[in-house]
């Protein structure tokens, strides 16, 4: 009832107080804080001392009100927390982004947009008054988010090439991607050159760029060996452990003669290994397995997974750097980066 609200103006020192203490004007303090060169060394020293003595911290709301910047960027992941935290892939991305952001004033917001409530919330906060730029990860085909963000005039960088534009030669705005198709092709080539002949694949979601491109790579390798498409050898998953297990069972029931599988994600591969073991097959003697991602699960499976390594942290860094350049308008509108992948040989193939 009579709970007195905290006084209107709290004890926190303001620019004005710093100016008074340093014996200079408000403008000079502001210039010192913002690193202007138009300040004499003497004034600068006085201001810096006053700031230290008072423990002054600039009020960001006030600054943001006039500059119309927020010094925050958002990373939006169109996945559930389950997957966001379940897959080490995202950890790498976040690490890369943080490290690239460390010497900018920008703070990173992390948001997931899975449930309707979450999406609504995220959309409400993806405005120029909340963030200066947006990075979108794990985008599905029909996602309206990129359109919304661009329409609001917010700088945008995509992680992974949008699915519909996965064929080269099409402008797609700004994105960072890895060479998914090339990595998949090399993985399958590796299986062929190891003497495998009936090579199946567990592909990812076909509404995602990475899912499409990795399946493309598989096809390319087959074509390179003069082989026709065999739909029997293709099963689909959603990058999860369970979906990998299920898909592997399906493949084995359709084609018991399979002697190798290329699997579009390590986590699915872990599930597939389980299904293979359950079916009594030995990896790699009976069936060779190659995964994709080279996340920590690849080292924890039994046997350890041969997989396609992608420079995840680099990808995060590239995204952040591209966004920063975009925000400061130092970059052409259709730039993009595609990073290389490499095959890591372990025990499973």
């Amino acid at each position: 009832m009579s709970t007195s609200r905290s006084t209107r103006t709290d004890g926190r020192p303001t620019l004005e107080k710093v100016a008074a203490r340093a014996g200079v004007g408000r403008g000079t303090v502001s210039r010192v804080i913002n690193g202007s060169t138009q300040v004499s060394p003497a004034a600068k020293a006085a201001v810096e001392q006053a700031i230290a003595e008072l423990g002054y911290v600039p009020n960001l709301a006030a600054r943001s009100l006039v500059t119309r910047r927020t010094d925050a960027v958002a990373l939006v992941v169109s996945e559930s927390e389950e997957r966001l935290f379940g897959e080490p892939f995202f950890a790498g991305i976040v690490r890369g982004i943080s490290s690239a952001l460390v010497d900018t004033p920008l703070q990173l917001w992390l948001a997931m947009a899975q449930s309707a409530a979450e999406r609504e919330r995220v959309e409400r906060h993806l405005t120029p008054q909340h963030v200066d730029g947006v990075m979108l990860l794990s985008l599905h085909d029909a996602d309206p988010l990129p359109g919304l963000v661009e329409q609001r005039g917010l700088p945008l960088v995509l992680g992974g090439r949008p699915a519909r534009l996965t064929r080269p030669g099409v402008a797609a705005g700004r994105f960072v991607d890895v060479d998914n198709a090339g990595g998949a092709r090399r993985a399958v080539e590796h299986l062929y050159s190891a003497g495998r002949r009936v090579i199946a694949t567990i592909a990812g979601p076909q509404d995602m760029g990475a899912g499409l491109a990795r399946l493309d790579g598989y096809h390319e390798a087959r074509v390179g060996h003069g082989l026709l498409n065999e739909p029997d050898l293709i099963a689909y998953g959603d990058f999860s452990y369970d979906s990998g297990k299920t898909a592997m069972k399906l493949l084995l029931s359709r084609r018991p003669d399979i002697d190798a599988v290329f699997i579009a994600a390590d986590l699915m591969a872990a599930g597939a290994l389980r299904a293979l073991r359950d079916s009594g097959r030995h990896v790699p003697d009976d069936v060779a397995v190659v995964g994709f991602d080279d996340t920590s699960v690849a080292r924890q499976t039994e046997p350890a997974l041969t997989t396609v390594h992608q420079p995840i942290e680099e990808m995060g860094k590239a995204m952040a750097r591209m966004l920063v350049a975009h925000i400061s308008e130092q970059i052409p509108p259709d730039s993009s980066a595609v990073l290389d992948t490499t095959l890591v040989i372990r025990e499973s193939a």
Copy 2:
């Protein structure tokens, strides 16, 4: 050079414009937006229509400047991205928090404070002008963060009882915890009643509340069976897969007669299973294993893990609700919540 800065005032409608359009004063619009009852239905309707027509969105920087609220809360995890994303535990917490926050105006900030650079950054942003409250997770003993946050007058809720106050009867501020000791005790009891006699444990970090309490539970169960402490049977890990593997190897070398292990985290248990398999032992026939957490890894190990389930999502919800109550000053200073744990029997014990 001559890149014209975007005009000072962008096209976005302001409160004033809405007021003009609705034919009312600024104050009335503000009242409508903030849900005051002191507005006539006619005025309210006119304002709402004007807002819709103009697509007006309140400027949060301006609001925050005067209200001194930010409508954001932070969740700080004192871990690397590696662990934050590697352990499903955190996913559950975040999910619980988000769901509890969904019908408040509060937005969730997620930050990790591991490296020095990150910590410095986090500390700089943990001020009343950035966030309205803070939740701290995975706290180590000597962490200065709680002190800092409280000193700045920010509402604070801890996830997990602070290590130093892990003994009951000591006030510890606001925290949410699960009954770690009780869960551990029941797990070990289960092993004893299954006829196991040489029961080892892999404990967690002893500077963390959860690590301490779970080891306490192990001791309690032994005491309950009239057994003396045998340091040989205790090894320590840091909750990671690798540390579990290493600790298990150490235990087996010290005491080859071990016929059961209680392990303070599922991920460590997964590592331990690997070490047991490498040593030629069969689980559960030769050695029974019980984990702790009941995260998704528990279902993916071979054999599936018997483990102590903790209501992770509930814990997140409780933390968020406690923080909200704290922010609105509707809660005594030393409240806390301790949630129950249950044993989930699978294949490993």
